[in-house]
Subunit: 335 residues, 2 copies
């Protein structure tokens, strides 16, 4: 395992020390060692936006804290949910007096800990409402969306909800916006290699050389098919077939597209994939309004990529364009 780590059991703590040192303008620590909040004046009078999740997906989750995006984040061990106490502390860190929206991904541990944290916060008079992202179209059939995992589409949900909160919307409106965004969002991933959690020392799943796993999850969860590696054009077709049919997206739609590397895929290859995604969308009469290509939501050093599409109405389109600044996503606005 050729990695840049010290004690494999301490990678999260060690990385957080580095993140705090590197981005004092964006992030500050809190009383809880696994919670960070946005630097700056805080969000008094605004709805707070919180997420949380396991480490190893950087820049998700901590890398989306900043102006116009998340107010606080709860940080888990590698590929593991933050604790209920961490979520609770994140809620308090994000509390600006108008309630907190916790927008997170659909995983058993996160569901359990968020639920507990919401109760803990309620005892202290803090109202927290939640939206559970389930954009991974390959993780369960469409009639069973409640079982689907949340993946890179979470980023778009954070963006629209946070932009609305910044405009002074109340908690119910912010929650409705996050729900609307994720309901209009579908993702799918392809894995080309496994990854290794440092504390485990070896992969807990495998992808044979020369094969790819269509529909793989962000922690190596099994996909819907293992196939011989295809050219990028065919990979894009497979991914877009899954995503487009699911919502479904159709002619005349406006969309945002996010192509994210899973960690080790060269950036030039993400653009090769995007080329085909864009061509398929053009051929289907779907107009791309926002494009994001890069390592936005990773799985340690896994090779592969995910494609996320969000169908936009005028309001989603507008909110995505508003300024935001964070490690993972900076939007300059139209200024």
């Amino acid at each position: 395992m050729n990695r840049i780590i010290d004690d494999p059991d301490d990678v999260v703590e060690d990385a957080l020390v580095g993140i705090r040192a590197a981005h004092p303008d964006l992030l500050v620590g809190t009383d809880h060692p696994r919670v960070m909040r946005a630097a700056g004046p805080g969000n008094a009078g605004r709805v707070g936006i919180v997420t949380g999740g396991g480490s190893g997906h950087e820049p998700a989750f901590v890398g989306y804290v900043g102006p116009g995006l998340l107010d606080a984040v709860a940080i888990g061990e590698v590929f593991a949910s933050p604790t209920a106490r961490a979520f609770e502390a994140a809620f308090k860190a994000a509390d600006g007096g108008r309630g907190v929206a916790c927008l997170y991904g659909n995983y058993a541990g996160d569901n359990m800990n968020v639920k507990m944290a919401v109760k803990l916060a309620a005892r202290d008079g803090l109202t927290v409402k939640t939206v559970v992202a389930n954009d991974d179209a390959a993780s369960a059939p469409s009639h069973d969306r409640g079982r689907r995992r949340g993946v890179a589409g979470e980023i778009l949900m954070w963006k629209t909800a946070a932009a609305l909160a910044a405009e002074g919307a109340d908690l119910d409106a912010v929650i409705a916006m996050a729900q609307k965004t994720i309901d209009a969002t579908r993702s799918v991933g392809i894995g080309l290699s496994a990854c290794t959690i440092p504390a485990a020392g070896k992969p807990n799943f495998s992808i044979a050389d020369g094969t790819m796993e269509v529909g793989i999850g962000h922690h190596g969860e099994p996909g819907i098919a293992v196939r011989p590696i295809e050219p990028a054009r065919a990979m894009a077709s497979t991914m877009m077939d899954t995503v487009l049919a699911d919502l479904p997206f159709g002619r005349g739609d406006d969309v945002a597209v996010l192509v994210s590397g899973l960690g080790a895929t060269p950036v030039m290859e993400l653009y090769i994939l995007y080329r085909h995604v864009a061509e398929i969308l053009a051929g289907a009469g779907i107009r791309v309004r926002h494009r994001f290509v890069g390592n936005y939501f990773t799985s340690l050093e896994m090779m592969g990529a995910s494609v996320t599409l969000t169908r936009l109405d005028g309001e989603l389109d507008r909110l995505l364009a508003l300024p935001a600044r964070s490690i993972g996503l900076t939007v300059m606005g139209d200024a």
Copy 2:
């Protein structure tokens, strides 16, 4: 080779199609298929800033085209110099009537092709002056800087020179600023795994599992030592020993720090490395004014990282802080 490509011989062209599709606000094509220039109003009345280099280092080089950064870029095949004609076309694309600064890295092919392109441009009355980056402290002894390679430090040279050009400085002043920046910059890399050029299909060098190559180049050029993998803290010490002693940097210095992944190293590990770099600098009485941590200058799917330090005076410090926008680097400014 588990990669997201179509024909391995076409990866550069295919990626450029994707880049153009993804970033119409930042980049546009030119008459030359391997030259892209900044979108927008052009740079009439300003010195043009150009670089060029092989592909496979994304976001370098094309990802640094944009406002406050490069005006045009010449793009080579994977790990190969752009042609002289491509450099010449990039000079013309960046010509705003006040001459062009070509700021590139010290490699035999690039040196030859830039030299030829400068002559070709001169025949058409276009003045191009050059600065050759040689920040890789491990690539030759300090008394022989002329043989050293240019690596991630180029990004800081582009930033300061472009910021000065944007203020209306003349060509000689822009060239002097680029030279001053690279003269104050030192880098070193550590490689933890090899990488594979798609058209070759297998690595052209190897790093045995459990070992690391200190001083590795961006194309797998041999380093100064192959050692068993060390903890991140020791890796940072080794790298900083090389860099700090070389300029040398010393107590009371202000610096910019750039920690770049080489492609496949998880982002959390870059922050673990940065933690130690920051601690070593603090211990040495060196103040960090600008920090960059991420995949800024990569080598396909190589594992490993580079550390770059630039010693700042007030002017370098000021120019690094001015706004810029590109795929690889966005600086919001102090607004």
